[in-house]
């Protein structure tokens, strides 16, 4: 690794070329963490600067809670569990999955505005742009889950498996959201603009969230659809979250399935995103 002397004193000698202030006194891994954190910080600030976007993106999931709780809920039979308790884990997964649109849009915007071009000319870690984006979105998801839990409580949702059951459920949700974010990062890097990115992710999200056990029991679907719904990640994560938050059923098998899906997706999707980033611009 090249070393450039750090010259703290401002040289006023007008003929000498400026001395770069770049320092290299830390290990590559610690710089990668520092750079990832710096980009996370930047993305979080950006989120707080557009509070209206945050506000309106919360309205949609709240509408879904009200719609399913009060309009469709009465017609949906969920043996052994109150519908509102059945529904809320589905809402959590749907909200964080759709929230990953922000990951794609954010990266597509950074690309089209030339920010990624600049980042790639800096002596920063190559991983930082993707790590910073996905981590900021993870932090945002913590907030989103807390907010949706609050709204859920107002319409009758209760956690029946204790605080640790709830926390474990949140952990499963966050891990899944992180895996999805890395997948959507690739879409964001491929899209020519934020708007295009948004249009590209929609056809992926709709079948995954609705043809799942998020809102209705899979058993009520036609056989061919059940085959899909039973074997896709959203159902796995919803089942695990529901088991952890609601209790009363064995949690081992659904939690294992959810972890396997999320970790598997992360291991496949993250390298694809990184490879795409290397070729970006």
């Amino acid at each position: 690794m090249a070393t450039v002397t750090v010259d703290g004193t401002d040289s006023t000698d007008s003929t000498a070329p400026p001395t770069s202030l770049v320092g290299h006194e830390r290990s590559a891994l610690s710089w990668a963490l520092a750079d990832g954190l710096a980009v996370t910080w930047r993305n979080l600030i950006a989120i707080t600067r557009i509070p209206d976007a945050m506000f309106f993106s919360s309205i949609q999931p709240i509408m879904f809670i009200l719609l399913f709780r009060y309009v469709f809920g009465g017609a949906i039979q969920t043996p052994g569990i109150r519908y509102v308790d059945y529904l809320m884990p589905g809402i959590f997964v749907q909200t964080i999955a759709f929230g990953a649109i922000g990951t794609a849009v954010g990266l597509a915007d950074d690309m089209s505005k030339g920010l990624i071009e600049r980042f790639r000319s800096l002596p920063m870690a190559r991983s930082a742009v993707l790590v910073g984006r996905t981590t900021a979105d993870l932090v945002r998801n913590v907030w989103v889950i807390i907010l949706m839990t609050g709204v859920g409580y107002l319409v009758g949702f209760r956690v029946h498996n204790g605080f640790f059951g709830y926390l474990a459920g949140v952990g499963i949700l966050l891990l899944f959201s992180y895996a999805v974010a890395w997948g959507f990062a690739t879409i964001g890097l491929m899209a020519s603009s934020g708007e295009t990115a948004q249009l590209m992710v929609f056809p992926v999200l709709m079948p995954l969230t609705f043809a799942s056990g998020a809102f209705v029991p899979v058993a009520t679907m036609p056989g061919w659809l059940q085959a899909f719904a039973r074997n896709q990640p959203v159902t796995a994560v919803v089942d695990a979250t529901r088991a952890l938050m609601n209790g009363g059923v064995p949690t081992g098998e659904p939690v294992f399935r959810a972890l396997a899906w999320s970790i598997g997706l992360l291991c496949v999707l993250a390298p694809i995103a990184v490879a795409r980033y290397r070729k970006a611009v």
Binding site: A2, P18, T19, L21, V22, V39, R42, G114, E117, S121
Partner: protein, 316 residues
């Protein structure tokens, strides 16, 4: 100083079947301003992206401060600043947050960042706007912030890709002043532009690029001397008349007249002096120009003179 801060040798880059760089060569002496002059699609941005390690070349070599841009990426990145073709600032961050972010990402020692950011805000006249999100800035302010961001870590070599494209005359004058100031700091600057006037004003040396090739290089004065310092356009009633006029005018100035539609274009060392001779010759041949226009040569004229074709617009 004779040592080259940037040296480029036979650089090639293809995108699919599009040849963006077809073997270009140039050297930039340390502490000087060098201009890459060329129309849209000439390959300027591609050259800058290779020199700033964003793209890898298909062939040839490029060095910054004596280090290869492919093999020694971390050294090169630590030594350069880049202000790309579009102002790359985060619109949601304030001016000072944008600069601080670059300070962190270039791994500057923490205690130096704040002082350096304040110094740059002051220098680029952004102190007052420093705490506002940069989406509220004017085009000129965004450009200034963008260039300031390229300078945070005080790189000895700076790349400016079309720094004034899209700016109003006041913004353009700002950028020019700023570049002139940088040179007094000893910074080596490579800038790309589509405007001969800009290259003339700022660059000590320049290379004219077309279709990925350097078609002329040297000082702006030398380049202008080869095509004459004034351009005279005669507008005629028809293309046939223009062709006849061109024949009449051959030999009266150092360069050949060029017919372009109904216009005849002549490059002359001293337009005002030769104009009466030219008019007399036309009068003798009973050709009456409908318009006469005397002006400074533009990039188009340079291209016409050097290649015999106009600078074509291609995809940016």
């Amino acid at each position: 100083m004779t040592e080259a801060a940037i040296s480029v040798e036979g650089l090639r880059k293809k995108f699919g079947s599009v040849v963006a760089l077809d073997g270009i060569d140039f050297d930039v002496p340390a502490g000087s301003v060098f201009g890459l002059l060329g129309p849209n699609g000439a390959g300027k941005t591609t050259a800058v992206r290779i020199l700033t390690t964003i793209l890898t070349p298909d062939g040839g070599r490029a060095k910054v401060l004596g280090r290869d841009v492919v093999k020694d990426q971390s050294f090169v990145r630590a030594s350069i600043g880049l202000a790309g073709q579009f102002a790359a600032v985060d619109e949601n961050l304030t001016g000072s947050e944008n600069l601080r972010l670059i300070g962190k990402l270039t791994h500057m020692p923490r205690h130096l960042i704040k002082a350096r950011v304040d110094e740059l805000l002051e220098r680029f006249d952004l102190t007052e706007a420093a705490t506002r999100p940069s989406k509220t800035y004017s085009g000129g302010m965004k450009r200034r912030l963008d260039v300031a961001a390229a300078l945070v870590h005080r790189p000895p070599v700076l790349f400016l890709d079309e720094p004034t494209t899209g700016l109003d005359p006041a913004g353009r004058a700002d950028v020019w002043e700023m570049v002139e100031e940088l040179v007094t700091d000893g910074t080596t600057v490579l800038l790309t532009t589509q405007y001969l006037e800009e290259a003339d004003r700022l660059a000590e040396q320049l290379a004219v690029v077309d279709h990925g090739k350097v078609i002329a290089s040297g000082s702006p004065a030398k380049l202008k001397a080869t095509i004459g310092s004034t351009v005279i356009d005669f507008g005629l009633s028809s293309q046939a008349a223009a062709k006849r006029a061109a024949k009449v005018l051959i030999g009266l100035t150092t360069s050949e007249p060029i017919v372009d539609g109904k216009t005849v274009e002549i490059n002359a060392k001293d337009g005002a002096k030769v104009l009466p001779d030219l008019l007399r010759a036309l009068d003798k041949a009973r050709i009456k120009p409908t318009t006469i226009n005397l002006r400074e040569p533009s990039l188009d004229d340079v291209f016409l003179a050097l290649t015999g074709h106009k600078a074509e617009e291609e995809a940016a």
